[in-house]
Amino acid sequence: MYPGPHVTKVSPQFGVTKNPKGTILDISGDNFACPGGDCSKIGVRFTNYKGDQIFVKGKMSSSGTIQCTEPEYPSPETLSVDVSFNGLDWSNDAVNFSYVDPFVLGVKPRLISPRGDTKLLVEGFGFAATGDDEKQQIAFAHDYIPCVSGGKTATKVYKVLSEMQVQVDSFDQN
């Protein structure tokens, strides 16, 4: 008998659906130990709200966390993440990983004040409140190229109203 694993954190907590960059997830927790020193059966399980499951192989890192490749997933949703060291017994700690794939369908209003005091309501799907301002940013683009200000991409942090709506301040034109 040995104590079962518990997952406490997944990093990063958000990813894109097709994972074009092959992002590696770092899963930390308690009681992470390979039984009998055999780490060949480490697995990571992702479960969606319907109970559908995706299994990927994991490996133990030198810092004692489990690493796996973020699996591709077809839609922006939140899945719970569990680990197993023997392929049979899984943690069950409701630690989540979210797929964020923002897609814009509409913006209101379409005419904006040069003073920068127009609040834009962006509608679409795949928005998620990440709690991380770095990940909740918009840019204005012309010919698909983000505008710049002071040599850097001009961005604003948006507020997530729902998975289908976000609100963001506009830029001052001048």
Binding site: P12, F14, G15, V16, P20, K21, T23, V100, D101, P102, F103, V104, L105, G106, V107, K108, P109, R110, L111, I112, S113, P114, R115, G116, D117, T118, K119, L120, V122, G124, F127, T130, K135, Q136, Q137, I138, A139, F140, A141, H142, D143, Y144, I145, P146, C147, V148, S149, G150, A154, T155, Y158, V166, V168, F171, D172, Q173, N174
Partner: protein
């Protein structure tokens, strides 16, 4: 913060809003937004509205059409709105839809661009001084003009209720709001059906307060008509202050029917009597091909 694309200021070029994904990339889309040059909105055409009417209000506007504000972009994307804000109650705000129009109406066909915004006043709860402004996008407002909601204009009773078709009967109209206009000189008109209007001589308006007995006596009603009057007693009761206007002269109905429509059977009958004011809208003269269509400045 000066927005630029490359080294060029963004100006009034179409733009899109791109959302950054967790990989740090901005996904493109084709939903365009536009900065606009702020319009110059002149004071509205009327300073007041009766609280029970939806009055046409006209703002003359310099939209700055040209390279900055493009008419087709406004036509497709503007959300024109009038905002009526109560001074008593911060949450007492009513929005009404507005639209762009050329003046005179019809000159759009002659390639003129809009130079007016028009909207209608809302039904308001009680008389008060309010603020009125107008928006291009439904969010940023211009104007902050004073506007007054005044007593409702209404017709409660007429006396007498009938008269000869030759006209000339002096009519007494009982109602409210006839003296409420701002400024006081604004004409109030009486209209008999669709026949004609005549301005009310405001010196003939008196304020009265009725008791039950006075009410019936004042109206010179037969017993039969008292029954009808009873049906509208609530109207009277709600309006302790009532105006009495004696002076509208009934028009010559037979003369009117002689010229339009010409073949009407008989000239008697019931006609509605309206009381209100004119809103001046200019309409241009124009003709199209051989089918003549002509209009001129009308009520």
């Amino acid at each position: 913060m000066k927005l630029a694309t490359g080294t060029k200021n963004i100006g009034f070029e179409p733009m899109t809003v791109q959302i950054r994904n967790p990989d740090g990339e901005y996904d493109p889309n084709d939903i365009y937004i536009y900065y606009y040059k702020e319009p110059t909105v002149q004071k509205q055409s009327a300073e007041f509205s009766y609280i029970n009417e939806d009055k046409m209000i006209i703002f003359n506007v310099d939209f700055g059409w040209g390279t900055e504000n493009k008419h087709d972009v406004f036509r497709d994307n503007a959300n024109l709105t009038c905002r009526f804000s109560s001074s008593k109650n911060g949450s007492g705000i009513i929005y009404t839809d507005a639209f762009m129009e050329t003046s005179p109406m019809g000159s759009m066909k002659l390639k003129s661009y809009p130079d007016q915004i028009r909207c209608r006043s809302p039904i308001w709860e009680s008389p008060e001084q309010i603020k009125l402004d107008v928006s291009i996008n439904g969010q940023n407002y211009y104007g902050d003009f004073p506007f007054t909601m005044v007593d409702p204009i209404s017709t409660l009773r007429l006396s007498p209720l009938s008269g000869p078709i030759d006209g000339g009967t002096l009519l007494t109209i009982y109602g409210s709001g006839m003296n409420a206009s701002i400024p006081q000189e604004v004409e109030v008109l009486v209209k008999f059906g669709n026949i004609m209007t005549q301005p009310v001589d405001k010196s003939n308006i008196t304020d009265i307060e009725w008791s039950d007995d006075d009410y019936y006596e004042e109206l010179h009603l037969t017993e039969k008509l008292v029954k009808q009057a009873n049906g509208n007693w609530d109207d009277i009761e709600d309006k302790k202050h009532v105006d009495r206007y004696s002076g509208a002269i009934t028009p010559n109905i037979s003369h009117y029917f002689d010229f339009t429509p010409p073949d009407v059977k008989g000239a008697g009958g019931v006609i509605p009597i309206l009381i209100g004011e004119n809103v001046g809208i200019n309409v241009t003269d124009h003709r199209e091909n051989s089918t003549s269509y002509r209009s001129k400045i009308e009520d």
